[in-house]
Assembly symmetry: C2
Homo-oligomer: 223 residues x 2
């Protein structure tokens, strides 16, 4: 048995999806620099609420693309986020994707200091060299620890993607990040997730790729 549905070539599905998203956003005026990020988050979630909730600090897209061009690495708080980010594309600029959540020294530090592993993994990342992008899709405690280290002058991230999802301290942790003067992209409210974190990273990567004429992808499919 062979089923035929809407006749769209596999390679065309993403382009067609973005057309539909653009169409359904209608007259809504998106900042042209922010639009690719907003649309890719909607693409990965089918949730148009993100057009209202995504918050961008001033000139953040320009700053984020510069950081990637300069070889920034991405630190994320979940293996799911790590799976979803296009690592090959990032490697083309010299960066790597790290998730320290499963590391033994992080578990040990968390136990010792009575923190979450997510907070301890931020401490570990703070000891790294080079420009860093933090993509937080799960743990508000990671955002809170980032806020503390930023306010103490210990850490100066090139970008904080603050999109944890959840019901306890999530909303507040995002508001904290928006009080700092570091570049941020934050999904205000409860919604977010590893998929959203990966989508924001990939949107940035593909914005650079377009100027390099490279292909596109779908974050959920990356290995």
């Amino acid at each position: 048995m062979k089923v035929t549905l809407e006749n769209v070539l596999p390679s065309e599905i993403e382009r067609r999806s973005f057309e539909i998203i653009t169409q359904e956003l209608g007259d809504r005026e998106l900042d042209p620099e922010q639009a690719p990020v907003i649309k890719r988050v909607i693409h990965t979630s089918a949730d148009f609420e993100y057009a209202d909730t995504l918050c961008f600090s001033e000139h953040v897209i320009e700053k984020a693309l510069d950081a990637i061009r300069n070889g920034a690495s991405i630190v994320t708080d979940t293996q799911m986020g790590r799976s979803g980010i296009n690592k090959k594309c990032l490697a083309g600029y010299g960066g790597q994707v790290y998730c320290f959540m499963g590391d033994e020294d992080v578990a040990e530090a968390a136990r010792k200091n009575g923190t979450t592993r997510a907070a301890a993994s931020i401490d570990k990342a703070a000891r790294m060299d080079g420009p860093l992008i933090f993509a937080v899709g799960n743990a508000p405690t990671a955002l809170v620890r980032l806020y503390e280290l930023i306010q103490d002058g210990v850490l100066s991230p090139a970008l904080v993607i603050g999109v944890p999802v959840g019901f306890v301290n999530v909303v507040q942790s995002k508001e904290l990040i928006m009080k700092t003067d570091v570049p941020y992209i934050v999904a205000r409210g409860r919604k977010g997730g590893s998929n959203v974190a990966a989508a924001v990273c990939n949107a940035l990567l593909y914005m650079l790729d377009e100027t390099r004429g490279m292909g596109n992808g779908q974050e959920q499919r990356q290995t």
Copy 2:
């Protein structure tokens, strides 16, 4: 600088989140067997729409738990989904989690047959022995291929978790699965994703764990 927010111990965050979800669902009567799945999907997405859109075939929870107890493996269409499923917990019952999307033979078969890799990876799974649960969080073409193989009598999954997200053929592919007589859990409409697929799997696993007195987890944190 040390920030103090809502005072909830890390180990208590998930329990507290489920309390909030239960509270906000209010008077809504959920089927007690389905409730843990619905709540965990809301937990992973902060999206209460899933209380309306998740569809369950008759006795699906009972059948799904039986399949896991009998050592069913899970085949998923993304590495993100694979990352999110609690593999250690599944292994306790004898099952494994597979994602064939990156396999060379799948890429080759897709090229040869002019299909997506997602469809080709279902064909590969169809040659496996033992009970299988399919957790589709991304590719409607995987669901369509499942439908074709089910209708042809080639494949008889123990459970189909049909939760792809997107704008092209996603809605239709889910409706197709609900026309079959295999056990299914489907998120009707456009919404879903790898995180939702993992959440459904983990909800089922933790339902069994409760009876075994094992701990709980958060799918986004699994490695």
